[in-house]
């Protein structure tokens, strides 16, 4: 009897074992698990150079050289050949008023010319950029290499000026010297064809030094497309799984300027959806009596911005954009910026996300 009883118990145990995993309906339910993991990782780092934040890297001027500035041209008569004439000075009014003067170690001067005169412009004509405040030195110049045809002919002159330049002041004037033309045997109406269009760009690649006005207030800005993670690489990051996302911005302001940061999320049509970093202020470095930043005083500052789920979705959505701006201000006295002055930015992210299996 005992043996039979033992055998029965063994059979019952075994039967129970084989069916046990089938008796509960909610086994292997991982979908309801809620677990939060915390990740911290670098997002981006960059340096905004002295050339960039002083906007000296992109000086642009549009100049119209009108007939009146070329008195050697006469309406109603054939135009004889012209040589060694001068046109100008023409004020480069588009000059940014941020700076008083600057010196560059490497700059590119780009001159685009559209000749609307009824006469051609001969190769060898010189485009000169001169100071006008403390002196009239030629600071940049370019020589037209090819004849530019009349009535719409176009050409460009690009000059890479390497080496420390003279002080370039903020009231520049443009001259065309050694102006030459084959003239025209026809009677031309200079009231119609009366100008030369010149687009001038000065791009300072390496700044030596720039003196900025006191009490200036200007904005450096750009728009970018930002992609936090694609489905191809890391899998879909769902907004509803984000418990918390924190952006840490580490800023080292090595300039004599104070600035504030703002960021905007824009939709596909560049309409503002939301904003972040609401004018977080980054003070300047200490400034010495000559207006230079004291580099040893530069300290890193940390700005923490917690994003909500909507803001995270803006980051994630590749059809949207981020518009950011840095608003620079200076002390009442003039300040000076040298090439080694820059703004260093590093962004890291901390994400608390729900893990779903």
């Amino acid at each position: 009897m005992m043996k039979n009883k033992g055998t029965k118990i063994a059979f019952l145990l075994f039967a129970a074992l084989t069916v046990v995993s089938c008796t509960k309906e909610d086994a292997f339910n991982y979908s309801d698990l809620e677990h939060t993991a915390e990740w911290i990782f670098p997002v981006a780092k960059t340096e905004i150079s002295a050339e960039q934040f002083t906007k000296i890297n992109d000086l642009r001027y549009d100049v119209g050289v009108v007939t009146l500035d070329a008195p050697f041209l006469t309406t109603g008569l054939p135009t004889p050949p012209i040589s060694a004439q001068s046109i100008g000075p023409l004020d480069l009014e588009g000059t940014d008023s941020l700076y008083v003067q600057f010196k560059s170690d490497n700059a590119i001067i780009k001159i685009y010319i559209t000749n609307n005169f009824p006469i051609n412009i001969k190769a060898g004509t010189v485009v000169e950029i001169r100071n006008s405040v403390n002196n009239t030195d030629v600071v940049f110049e370019g020589v037209i290499q090819n004849d530019i045809a009349a009535k719409g002919g176009m050409d460009s002159v690009i000059v890479n000026k390497v080496g420390t330049s003279e002080w370039v002041d903020n009231r520049l004037k443009l001259y065309l010297t050694n102006f030459g033309s084959d003239g025209s045997p026809n009677v031309e109406d200079y009231s119609i064809y009366n100008n030369i269009e010149i687009q001038l760009g000065i791009e300072v690649l390496i700044l030596n030094e720039i003196e900025l006005h006191g009490n200036i207030n200007y904005i450096v800005t750009d728009t970018t497309d930002f992609d936090f993670g694609s489905t191809d690489n890391v899998g879909e990051i769902k907004e509803e799984n984000i418990r918390n996302i924190k952006m840490n911005v580490f800023v080292k302001n090595g300039t004599p300027l104070t600035f504030a940061i703002r960021g905007y999320f824009l939709d596909a049509n560049y309409a503002v959806l939301d904003s972040v970093f609401n004018n977080a202020v980054i003070p300047s470095a200490l400034i010495d009596p000559n207006g230079f930043a004291v580099m040893s005083s530069v300290v890193e500052q940390k700005i923490v911005e917690e994003l909500n789920a909507s803001q995270f979705s803006y980051l994630k959505n590749r059809t949207q954009h981020i518009y950011y701006l840095l608003e620079f201000t200076s002390q009442p006295e003039n300040v000076s910026v040298v090439g080694e002055n820059h703004v260093k930015l590093e962004v890291t992210a901390e994400i608390e996300s729900k893990i779903t299996l």
Partner: protein
Amino acid sequence: MKKIMILMLLLVGASTVNAQYNSLGLYNPHFTFNKAEFIPSKLGVNQSKVEFRIIPNGYVYGANSLLSIQTVMYPTTSGIDKAVDNADGHTLFGAGVEIPGVAISYKLGKTKELMTFALTNKTRALGNVLLDDQLLKLAWNGNKQFEGETIKLNKFGASSIAATEIGLGWAMPLKVGALKMRVGANLKYLLAFAGGYVPQSEVLMETATDGRYISFQNLNYQANVALLDDANTFTGNGFAMDLSTTLHFGKEMNASVAVLDIGALTFDKNTYSYTGAGDVNIEGVVIDNIFEDNTFQIDSAILEGFHSENDSGKTFSMGMPSRLVVHLEKNILNGDEVKHGIYLTYIQGFNNIAGTTTRPYFATGYSYSLKKILNVGPTVNYGGYGGFGLGMFLSAKVGPLRIGAGTNAGLSYLIFPSVTKSVDISFMTTWVIGAKKEKAEVPSIE
């Protein structure tokens, strides 16, 4: 990435149906083939002239050293949190299916066994993952916990094998002086359907304060896989060998030592290799000019640091799950039949290839035979992938057919569901012919 990793780990654990080694056959006198899988010298120790297996057997197991089966089946965040927090050392996940197929053995000798030969087949699909606990904690909790620290992510490895094998087994009794013993061997030719091998590697990971950078030092990894191929049934092949000897101390006591699966598989079809080495420092997207770079992708910046060289069609080899088996057996006879059996088994893997682990495995079992018709007994085991396990087996003889089933950890799951970390189930059959002719020769070496 992390999600895939966690899914992989947990599903490997979750797919468990019961423990790592099918030691049940060792403890059940009905199944000689299964004994011989662990101790080749035990081939032919029963009374049969001919034994064969035509119904495929099965052994399915799943085990891990991290989560209890209760937690795997009915997961809770707190349960997994607790297991991950308490993880210490390295974590193993293993699962497998073994299907011993057709087999036949024949004993030479009219009244006394001269030797026994066998031709066997077995198909295996095995997989395992070895994870350093720091890596596990990283995957589960994220890297914020390691902010400002450098951690060692050593001991990561994974392997999988899906192969069928044809084995030629041999065993014979020997007498050296007064010592009675058996020796046996099994030579196996393996045909692999698929396989994967990520050799164990180590790396240092630093998460800088505030996440300013994440660096990986001494990164040195490789992964080789051979995938199921529509054009070829088999993607690789190899040879392996089992050797053992059994010493008999009287009729009722014996001890065996075996080394199993000494060999390797070589894959040369539909293979893919991924290798990477060096130091990686991730600093996010480095923007040279914030006013010109208008689009940047964070994940690409991270992944680009991990330069991986991919190759396909490259031949690679992986070892078999080689292991040492030490087995003690005490039989209490009632006439010519084994009435009671007490067994102790120690298995030590030489590597962490799927199917074995360097973590030692101990098992003990007891068998009770009711007139050789019904065998039943409990087993207790500890170690290997899953730690503690309590199981039982049961088999019956119906004419020449022996049929049985068992588990190494099923009972512990029923009794200690929050502790047991493995599940398995075993199904065994064999057909025995000609037992009566050698009835007087039990055990046959006598």
